[in-house]
């Protein structure tokens, strides 16, 4: 049984009478102890998905209209606010993108970690546990008495991690955890994440637009485009032999390669929007076919490859893959 299973999730934001589709159809799963990367451009719906996973969609505007989310076998798609409050933190905790704004500026780090400990370990020696958690994320014990503004960016992200780990989660959802950090600090945090996963046997869903980060840290990868999961599978396999033209284009752009004219490789056109008929990448796709505009392809998996993609180009090898 997977720890987290998202099945054909559809999510819309209501504003007034209009509503915007943020996620058209997203399917992914995370097994116990596994690291899965969720990759996509800004606007692909990956952050909305992350918030939906913890029941943190903006109240009154974010709405799941179809599909389901289940955590450790429990369907949480339509959980009430009170039930979410009981569930959050364990088995799933989350760290966010901007470590400064994600910490309360007028509360000491130790207190913020302590809240999470107290919430999930009722009998714990809180002070001792705070010390352990700081040690776990490699922060000096003195940080417990510090305020967020007194720490560096990397230290703040470690503090956020300590808060999340205070919940003793089975799955850590990390939404762009390194994006706001400089390159050397990014590497430190990624190393720490890998180390923690090894020590705590914790599963991780790493959300990023950075393919390098995902390639480095994840066993499996899911690629999202315009509110749809378009390709998924084993990281090495997906990155070496991508099936979906979008994945190929993303990889080419991600490698900071210059083309023959000496320009950076980019993907032509604008990021597609969720909703509508056919494949959302069709307007930008270099290998587009007439039927792409009409019909969204199902998932195809090429022979001998440990991944699947939703693209008509792969129809010739019709061994359908389960997500």
């Amino acid at each position: 049984m997977s720890l987290l299973a998202v099945d054909r999730l559809r999510l819309v934001y209501d504003s007034g009478r209009a509503s915007t589709v943020a996620i058209e159809e997203a399917t992914l799963s995370v097994a116990e102890g596994e690291a899965v990367g969720l990759v996509g451009e800004s606007g692909s719906g990956k952050s909305s998905l992350a918030r939906a996973l913890l029941g943190l969609l903006p109240a009154g505007t974010g709405r799941i209209t179809d599909g389901s989310i289940s955590i450790a076998g429990r369907d949480v798609t339509r959980l009430s606010r009170r039930d979410w409050e009981k569930l959050r933190g364990r088995p799933m905790a989350m760290v966010f993108q901007d470590p400064l704004s994600s910490l309360n500026p007028v509360m000491r780090i130790g207190t913020q970690i302590g809240e999470s400990v107290r919430r999930h370990d009722h009998d714990a020696d809180v002070a001792k546990r705070i010390g352990e958690l700081l040690d776990l994320v490699r922060l000096p014990a003195a940080c417990a008495g510090s305020y967020p503004h007194e720490l560096s960016g990397g230290m703040r992200q470690r503090a956020l991690l300590a808060i999340a780990l205070g919940c003793r989660p089975a799955l850590l959802v990390a939404d762009e955890p390194t994006t706001a950090l400089d390159v050397t600090t990014q590497a430190e945090i990624l190393t720490l994440l890998r180390e923690l996963r090894g020590r705590l046997g914790m599963a991780m869903l790493l959300i990023s637009h950075d393919l390098g980060v995902v390639a480095d840290a994840c066993d499996r990868v899911v690629i999202m485009y315009a509110g749809r999961t378009v390709e998924w599978g084993n990281t090495a396999d997906t990155f070496t032999r991508p099936g979906h033209p979008y994945a190929s284009a993303l990889l080419a752009a991600g490698q900071v390669l210059r083309n023959a004219q000496g320009l950076f490789v980019t993907i032509e056109g604008e990021v597609g929007r969720a909703g509508g008929v056919g494949c959302p990448f069709a307007p930008r796709c270099p290998q587009v076919m007439p039927r792409c505009h009409i019909e969204m392809p199902p998932a195809f998996s090429a022979e001998g490859r440990a991944h699947a993609a939703r693209c008509w180009l792969l129809e010739d090898q019709p061994s359908r893959a389960a997500p």
Binding site: R51, S101, V106, E115, R119, R138, P140, I163, E188
Partner: protein, 329 residues
């Protein structure tokens, strides 16, 4: 902390001096001769007028008069009130104390109530509850104070006889001991309500805006993600942050409220600084008017220093910067 306070006091000194000079010069713009005002309508011989003029130093050049005034101020001598037969300083400080007895409870009540209203309204921003709370608080602010005060008197004093209509203590059959305290509190209810209603909107509006903004901060998500209830996030995380702007408005209101209660004090015959100001205008008691002018200006300066100090206390970003050594990773 000491350095911070010293710096603020150092800055306050020239401001207070400038206020004193300004107050002095303003009085010289007032039409009419103080000597005529002092002597009254009796036909006085010119020698007598000249003597009075010399006695008060009014025959000296303006610069010398200003210098004398400032030297007297430095000695705590604000002049003498002929109407009240008391030194101005004693009089003003005594009345200010009475105004504070009214203003402090009113501002404390307004702050508490305003913040509570904001906490109730903001999470439901845009809803009926929010509109009702915001609307009511604005109505309270928009209603003229003297009208509201009279309504309160008519309803609770004249019709219902629940509270006394005016004054600070009962003059006849004055109780003693705890009875006196109760008697004072009883007199306090109506004027305090009046001022509270006025200031509650100011606090509620600022606090509501702060809470609405804070609700969208990422640390709220962090709090929710670690499993805290919405109530706990609101009280432990949002409230302390929302208090920072509230301190600013309350501090500002406090400084201006010392003389701002003129209308309320007049309606309820509360013997504070506001009443004294009104009576000193009526009796052309210039030294008292000037004393109140100086006192209230100094009060605003002091209130601002206190506000900055409290602000500094509640926001660790302003007073703490102890960087911890880098992680050993």
């Amino acid at each position: 902390m000491l350095r911070f306070l010293l710096m603020r006091l150092l800055w306050a000194a020239p401001i207070v001096l400038a206020i004193a000079v300004l107050g002095f010069l303003l009085l010289h713009l007032v039409r009419g001769d103080p000597v005529t005002a002092l002597i009254g309508d009796f036909p006085a011989p010119p020698e007598y007028v000249a003597r009075v003029r010399a006695d008060f130093g009014l025959d000296q050049p303006l610069g010398t008069q200003l210098w004398l005034y400032l030297v007297n101020l430095a000695h705590g001598n604000l002049g003498f009130s002929f109407a009240n037969r008391l030194p101005v300083l004693t009089l003003v400080l005594d009345r200010a104390r009475i105004t504070l007895l009214l203003m402090i409870p009113a501002l404390v009540a307004a702050s508490t109530l305003g913040v509570a209203m904001a906490l109730a309204a903001a999470p439901r921003a845009g809803s009926g509850t929010d509109a009702t709370i915001t609307g009511l608080s604005l109505l309270g602010h928009a209603v003229p104070v003297f009208w509201l005060a009279q309504l309160l008197v008519m309803a609770f004093a004249v019709q219902l006889h629940w509270m006394p209509a005016s004054g600070m203590i009962s003059l006849r059959n004055a109780p003693t001991g705890w009875g006196a305290v109760m008697d004072f509190l009883w007199h306090l209810v109506l004027p305090m309500t009046c001022i509270t209603i006025y200031y509650v909107a100011v606090v509620a509006r600022v606090a509501r805006a702060a809470v609405v903004e804070l609700l969208h901060k990422d640390f709220v998500l962090t709090g929710m993600a670690k499993g805290l209830t919405r109530r706990r996030v609101l009280w432990r995380h949002i409230l302390p942050n929302a208090l920072i702007p509230v301190v600013t408005v309350v501090g500002y209101s406090f400084g201006s409220s010392l003389t701002g209660a003129i209308l309320t004090e007049t309606v309820f015959a509360w013997p504070g600084l506001g009443s004294l100001f009104v009576s000193s205008i009526a009796s052309r008691d210039y030294p008292v008017m000037q004393g109140i002018f100086l006192f209230s200006a100094v009060a605003v300066v002091v209130a601002n220093i206190l506000t900055d100090f409290v602000y500094w206390l509640v926001d660790p970003r302003l007073h703490r910067n102890r960087r911890v050594g880098a992680a050993n990773a």
